[in-house]
Symmetry: C2
Subunit: 328 residues, 2 copies
């Protein structure tokens, strides 16, 4: 049992804790020991007995908490207890569904940044119209990014895509307001120059217009624009989905029409259900922390745990530390 | 014939000039005299004889031209000749389908900024899932915006929505990475404070997630994020449209399904065909210039001319100048 992985799950913060409990109780994996963190009333419902460690906490992190202070003010919360165990090498990877702000700030404060990284960036895998998926970063962790930050997100993103998805030299594009090199504000123009000089397989700029059509492995964005991009994709997909549903429900004729295309529409929905892509994670900190959606279900948790396993097995974060410290 | 409006149309820059020619030849409106600007070979095809003034130009503005120099380097191009006539009060409003960069730079250089405006912003009307439409600004004219710029876009946008759409006190929201007041970078935080203090009916922040669901009259964004938002809405709507089409064309069963919902799908498409909303325009210059899409058709041109008429009739730009100069 020496090589067993220890994966932490903060079971507060998920909208429906029953889903985590179901997932934990049914998860069978001899390679993994699950460390669960939560209030006693929830942990008591966990009936799994093998490969499980329950950590009873007395506090909970709320969305309304000041993100930057949670790690000092709520030391016995499930999120902070878990991150503390990660810091002290009791667990290998930490997964939470709690407040993104608290997750990001506490991860940075408690786990620490890789040398050379001034502000870590949030990253997540996203779908395109084809089967191709890409890593988008930064999703909003750093809304005052400097060109060096964007360069580092490109480099760290490449390591993620190389080690987790076996892409030898992942391609990188920069989100911008036009495809020409001279586009954007000063931060973007300087970032473009840096990436052109230092990032292997840098493909230049990409516009929001092409975001579901391209074949790049990584799209780098400044945090504000990256956040707008992410939320607009989600928002537009959701709104259009509602419009299509409205069209289908109009009358008997359209309802029959809907039945005839049901299979395709379900596949379409599945594509924009990101849960199979794992959670979001911070690029630039020393140990892996994963943020799943507050609305995460058993499926989303399953994939987050698989992602955690991959990250741990490939020693990705050690490689990130080494690479950045060598200044490559 | 004293009160006839003179509306300029730059007939180069539109992907399909036949469409402009068709539009011009068939446009009957005793209130409007059309001033058309183009190469002789195109103007010769215009057979309309009443209320038309043809301006034969010898140069054309290309996408590849340096936007900031076009007004000096291509003085006999259709775009610059038209803007020169606008400046000299020969025409009242100028409409072009040419390069957005050249359009913006030349409009600012040749027409001039309203006192108190340091960098004009680009604005356009956009649809939501309901019948509600909203003005989005800045769409990318100013990618180094200061808080004051955003405040001015809010104020000028309110005048546009008040005088063109008869909304007494148009509501304003700020595009941001979260709804809380403290969200965003320094520019956004400061802009939020300014707008809260100075903009009547300011509603706070909006996220990309809600962009097709809200009921605000104006959404103000910093130019970079506004451009990403606009292009992502267009891009995602287009990509999802292709996916739906793919689902419908899969087999005989789905093709029958498609026929049954055809009417609703066409209405859906029409909503995301922005041509009926008029063109984009610059907020913060002294006279009205309108930019239609390069892919504009007769319909889009018709609505741009109606928009130009409304702007002229309401004396909107004079009101904007007065309001800003009074510092209101």
């Amino acid at each position: 049992m020496h090589n067993i992985m220890k994966i932490g799950i903060d079971i507060l913060g998920i909208d429906n804790p029953e889903r985590i409990i179901n997932f934990v109780n049914n998860y069978k994996d001899s390679e993994v020991e699950l460390y669960v963190y939560g209030l006693e009333e929830t942990l008591i419902k966990i009936t799994k007995t093998e490969n499980i460690v329950k950590n009873v906490c007395t506090e909970e992190v709320y969305m309304s908490d000041d993100s930057a202070r949670v790690h000092r003010k709520k030391k016995d919360s499930s999120m902070i207890r878990m991150l503390d165990d990660l810091k002290n090498q009791i667990i290998d990877v930490a997964i939470t569904g709690g407040s993104t702000g608290a997750f990001m700030a506490s991860s940075v404060f408690m786990i620490g940044r890789i040398e050379g990284i001034s502000k870590p960036g949030l990253a997540s895998l996203l779908p395109t119209r084809s089967d191709h998926k890409f890593l988008l970063t930064d999703l909003g962790a750093n809304v005052e990014a400097k060109p060096d930050d964007l360069l580092n997100y490109a480099k760290l993103g490449q390591l993620y895509m190389k080690y987790i998805y076996n892409i030898e030299t992942p391609s990188v594009a920069l989100l911008n307001v036009g495809v020409e090199e001279s586009k954007g504000n000063k931060v973007y123009k300087d970032a473009h120059k840096l990436m052109k000089a230092e990032v292997a397989n840098f493909k230049g700029n990409i516009e929001g217009r092409e975001i579901l059509e391209h074949q790049f492995d990584i799209v780098v964005a400044e945090g504000f624009a990256g956040n707008v991009l992410l939320k607009t994709i989600e928002g537009v997909a959701k709104s259009l989905g509602k419009m299509i549903k409205g069209i289908f429900l109009q009358n008997l004729k359209t309802k029959i029409g809907a039945l005839l295309v049901k299979k395709g529409i379900n596949a379409f929905r599945k594509k924009f259900d990101y849960s199979e892509y794992g959670g979001a994670f911070l690029l630039g900190i020393k140990k892996p922390t994963i943020k799943v959606h507050g609305a995460a279900d058993e499926n989303a948790l399953y994939y987050a745990v698989q992602q955690a396993k991959q990250i741990h097995k490939t020693k990705l974060y050690d490689i990130m530390i080494e690479t950045m410290e060598k200044g490559e």
